[in-house]
Amino acid sequence: MNPIVRVTLLMIHGLSAVTLLGAITHQALAVWWTPRPPASGWWHALRSVHPERYASAIVTLFVVTMLLGTSLYPSFRVDVRPGLDTRAPWGTGLFELKEHGVAIGLALLPAYWCGWRSASGRGARRALTTFLAIVIWWAFLAGQIVNNLHGL
């Protein structure tokens, strides 16, 4: 892959991931700590969102971010992975777990989306949103660490 295209894709992948991270964090906070109207301040503002309005955006961002990552996977496999395997195998393990987390997160999306679109109840929404938030945070942090170890 052309280096300019690769770096551009990596940048868009990163920006998309940050947007997704913000969206899922707002939604998770809102679903666990629903604000009470008279409150004010930063913590109140952070969770004062309509979490149901985030569901479709989160599904879209998740899929877009994942597709961008998927397009970069061959470059990682050829240019990064061999070095990691010999110098820092735990980095390879971290990346493998990141990919597994993303795949399980992708699998979770139908139920997550349906949970927010139907009368699933607070418990189901909390559980699915929390799980997805953990997966997204995990993938983001693992990606940052691996990229710091050996970038594309």
């Binding site: 390879t92 399980i104 992708l106 699998a107 699915l128």
Partner: protein, 101 residues
């Protein structure tokens, strides 16, 4: 929304199929990025991407799960996140050897 059980079934089926694919090394097709080619057998000394194959198996599992889930009278929400959590634990155990080298 009609058939919410189908969505739960799709999630459970996809997560289970993906995990089984990884644990059992199921996909029988590979991508060779240096050659920009696909194959049904791994090639010696050639970097191989197997993840696409795992995802395809997960997709098939999701489709089957969706069909099975349509028959459920009620969506099984707890089963979704419990299945996903179990899959993550199994996948973590599968990759553990990377952290002990």
């Amino acid at each position: 929304m009609t058939h919410p059980g189908a969505y739960c079934g799709a999630s459970i089926g996809a997560a289970a199929a993906y995990t089984l694919a990884v644990l059992a090394g199921l996909p029988s097709f590979y991508y060779f990025p240096r050659l920009d080619a696909w194959g049904l057998q791994p090639l010696a000394d050639e970097p191989t991407v197997r993840w696409y194959g795992y995802l395809l198996v997960g997709l098939i599992g999701g489709a089957l799960g969706m069909l099975a889930g349509r028959a459920w009278p009620r969506p099984r929400w707890p089963l979704v996140w419990i299945a996903a959590a179990v899959c993550m634990v199994l996948l973590f155990a599968h990759e553990w050897s990377w952290f002990t080298r």
